[in-house]
């Protein structure tokens, strides 16, 4: 087994990304979709921080990760508000039944 390096972190991130994507695609419940999104964001964050560690660009990567976290917080807040509204409007939060956009 090789010494843990950049690739390991990237692979972990890749897994997280894949699971997140899976949740986004397959899950009907909007909140689970949101959770998937969070996973994808975390995958990205890991990459940022990993690259920050294994390159000579200083702490810029970490800073990006921080920004992403902040954005994620904002996104979560808005998304939940939307989800609540959807719930109020439709009585459920199943994204596959919400296809008013089709018109």
């Amino acid at each position: 087994m090789v010494e843990v390096g950049l690739t390991h972190f990237l692979v972990v991130s890749a897994f997280l990304f894949a699971f997140g994507l899976y949740a986004i695609i397959t899950r009907k419940n909007a909140i689970l979709v949101l959770m998937g999104v969070e996973l994808v964001l975390n995958a990205a964050n890991i990459n940022f921080v990993a690259f920050s560690r294994y390159s000579n660009y200083g702490l810029n990567g970490q800073l990006m990760a921080l920004f992403v976290i902040v954005l994620a917080a904002a996104e979560a807040a808005i998304a939940l508000a939307i989800v609540l509204n959807i719930y109020k409007t439709f009585g459920h939060v199943n994204v596959d039944e919400i296809d008013n956009l089709k018109e």
Binding site: L21, V33, V95, D96, D99, K102
Partner: protein
């Protein structure tokens, strides 16, 4: 009294009725007795015009008084110079006599109407209308220029319209008013063009200035033909207003108006305005124009007389009689008998006014019965009306000792002289024939109305003599139909004062455009006959009234004409008595024998029908066509071009959707998968889209193969 105060007097007389009109029109409804103001005003105007006439005929008998003011100032016009439009007042003997005639008949009609119109719902408005009519008529009389005549000419038309259609609830009345106005307008267009020809050349409307220009040899557009045209065109106004052929159709219909109005407007004054106008432009009429005028007058007189022979409506007979007499006057002007034409205008005004008022009196007492076949024997019930009516009938028939005899005799002598001088004998022949016919139909009227036994006992029983307000005007007018007011010698009008007051103006047209007998070389004995006369309304410096040759010719035929006219009048009266009083000749049988002629006459030669068919219907058709054309073709083109534009847009849009876009779609279809799934892919579900993204990424990855 100075000349300027005479002018102010004339202006006062002119404006008084206008003031009356406005006051009565605006406040007549509130104050029921306001009509008395109008009656008072017209009486004052009458007194003033008598006074003015007295002053003028004693102090200024040979003068023409003119006062002008600038109405429109058009400034310094390029190529013409300083251009102004002036209005003005001209007072000569003709004016002053007309002032008197108009105000007198107007005043009498006012009095008469008080009784006649009693109880009408628009009683005071009626007097207001009479006021504006009097105003406009006086305006024509005192105008010194064509423009002002035209202005008042139209105003007279307006008041005529208002008065004919006074009982506008009746469709026939409002139709008649409209017909009168429109028929007159046709003549007015001609008159206006004539005025425009003169203005374009002389830049003035004033008679005196125009005559000065012409006498200086300046003819319109450099040709005598245009001068003739101008004369005839201005005369067209007279054709309309004086109801000459072929525009006479309005006058009989105008009898729809109240009868006193017929007396005032359609017998005595307004219709005479045409004659007055021709008299005013007499000096500039060329030989050709005069001949046209004479022919129009002659044709009109015999044509109308032929219709009057068979009419049964008392007012219709009088109406056609009026047309016929107006034709007489016009004819007299055309042949150059200026003085007698004007003389006849005045005498006719009185006796025709009297006839109409008399018929009004009859109609009033018969409760608006106008058909003579329902009358008869009225002379016992209405002696005053009868006597006065008879005097007027004698006058119009030309029986000696009446005013009509004097004027008609001179007039006929004039036509005869004209025939002798030029060879146009048809005109005097027509003149004398009409004299016969006039006597006949007028006595037919008198006999059917007043003589014999009542044909409608019920109406007869209710008939009664009219009140004093109506009979006194009749008496006044009847006395004015006696010769003594005009001349001391009942057979020689030339001895009278009237003859000396009114002299034919010296013609100003170029020598070559005059009648042979009016040329100046024929003035060999110039100044011996009329050395005291004055140049009338023409140039102030002219000393000759008319060509001597004509005067002499007239003198020569004076007595033969007189005797002939008396014989003819007597014959006419005799026939009338034979047919209608003594019934020696059966009128109905005669009518049966001459059926086609009778029908023509009875149906007024079908002129109305012909006009209606030829012009009115066609005009309405044409206007409907234009309207259709406008809505369908012109607007259609507009709408079509809009539709066309939209069509093009649609085609473009279709092309865009099906051809251009279709090509794209077709390409997509060929490439397969994408094209087919285009619609299905749009599920509206977020997740589906993400799936596409994922697959896209996968595909990209597989294609790029970065690994």
């Amino acid at each position: 009294m100075s000349e300027s105060s005479l002018i102010s007097l004339a202006v006062t007389i002119l404006l008084l009725p206008l003031v009356g009109f406005f006051i009565v029109l605006l406040f007549g409804k509130r104050f029921e007795h306001l009509y008395k103001l109008e009656v008072g005003i017209i009486s004052v105007a009458l007194l003033l015009s008598i006074y003015a006439g007295f002053v003028k005929l004693t102090s200024y008998v040979n003068d023409t008084i003119i006062a002008q003011f600038t109405w429109i100032d058009l400034g310094n016009v390029p190529t013409i110079g300083h251009l102004t439009v002036n209005l003005g007042i001209m007072i000569d003997n003709v004016t002053i006599i007309m002032l008197f005639v108009v105000t007198l008949i107007s005043a009498l009609v006012h009095y008469f109407s008080i009784a006649y119109m009693k109880g009408d719902i628009r009683f005071s408005r009626y007097f207001a209308y009479l006021g504006i009519f009097t105003f406009s008529m006086l305006g024509i009389v005192i105008a010194d220029n064509l423009l002002m005549i035209y202005i008042f000419w139209e105003l007279v038309g307006l008041s005529s319209y208002l008065l004919i259609g006074f009982w506008y609830e009746k469709k026939s009345a409002s139709d008649a008013g409209m017909k009168a106005f429109l028929t007159n307008r046709i003549g007015d267009i001609g008159m206006f063009i004539g005025i425009l020809i003169l203005f374009t050349n002389y830049h003035t409307f004033s008679f005196t200035e125009i005559f000065n220009h012409i006498s200086n040899g300046v003819v319109p557009f450099g040709s005598n033909g245009w001068l003739t045209a101008a004369g005839i065109l201005v005369f067209m106004g007279a054709i309309g207003k004086s109801a000459q052929m072929p525009l006479h159709v309005w006058l009989p219909d105008a009898m729809e108006g109240p009868t006193p109005v017929s007396a005032l407007i359609h017998a005595a004054t307004m219709v005479a305005a045409g004659v007055y106008l021709v008299a005013r432009i007499f000096a500039m009429l060329t030989a050709d124009a005069m001949l046209v005028i004479a022919v129009v007058g002659a044709v009109t007189s015999i044509f109308a007389a032929s219709i009057a022979l068979t009419q049964n409506d008392i007012k219709k007979v009088l109406a056609y009689s009026t047309v016929s007499q107006l034709g007489y006057m016009v004819m007299a002007l055309g042949v150059g008998a200026y003085t007698f034409a004007f003389f006849h205008l005045v005498t006719h005004a009185f006796f025709k006014g009297l006839l109409f008022l008399g018929s009004g009196s009859v109609i009033h007492s018969m409760h608006h019965e106008q058909d003579m076949r329902n009358m008869g024997g009225l002379k016992r019930k209405m002696p005053i009306t009868y006597i006065t009516f008879l005097i007027a009938t004698l006058a119009i028939s030309g029986i000696p000792f009446t005013s009509g005899f004097l004027s008609k005799d001179g007039l006929l002598a004039g036509t005869w002289a004209f025939g002798n001088l030029t060879g146009h004998y048809l005109i005097p022949i027509i003149g004398f024939t009409v004299a016969l016919m006039t006597a006949f139909y007028m006595f037919r009227l008198v006999i059917m109305t007043f003589h014999g036994e009542p044909r409608n006992q019920h109406k007869y029983d209710h008939a009664h003599e009219s009140p004093k307000l109506m009979t006194i005007p009749l008496i006044i007018l009847a006395s004015l139909s006696i010769f003594i007011f005009y001349t001391p010698n009942p057979v020689a009008p030339a001895d009278g004062w009237f003859y000396n007051w009114v002299k034919a103006p010296q013609t100003v047209v170029p020598e070559e455009a005059r009648f042979e007998f009016m040329k100046s070389e024929s003035h060999e004995i110039e100044g011996t006959v009329n050395n005291d006369s004055h140049g009338g309304s023409g140039s102030g410096s002219a000393t000759i009234t008319h060509s001597e040759m004509y005067e002499h010719a007239m003198h020569a035929v004076h007595y033969p004409a007189m005797i002939l006219s008396i014989i003819l009048a007597g014959l006419g009266i005799l026939f009338a008595f034979l047919m209608y009083h003594w019934k020696k000749i059966d009128a109905d049988k005669l009518a049966e024998k001459l059926k086609p002629l009778y029908n023509l006459s009875y149906n007024k030669w079908y002129v109305d029908e012909i006009y209606s068919f030829l012009f009115i219907e066609r005009l309405l058709d044409f206007s409907r066509f234009i309207s259709w054309f406008d809505a369908t073709i012109v607007d259609g083109i507009v709408n079509y071009s809009a539709t066309f534009t939209r069509g093009v847009a649609n085609i473009t849009g279709w092309f865009d959707t099906y051809i251009v876009d279709g090509l794209v779609n077709f390409t997509a279809f060929v490439s397969g998968f994408v094209g087919l799934s285009f619609r299905k892919m749009q599920t509206g579900k977020v997740q589906t889209y993400i799936v596409y993204v994922v697959f896209s990424v996968i595909i990209i990855l597989l294609v790029l193969r970065p690994f």
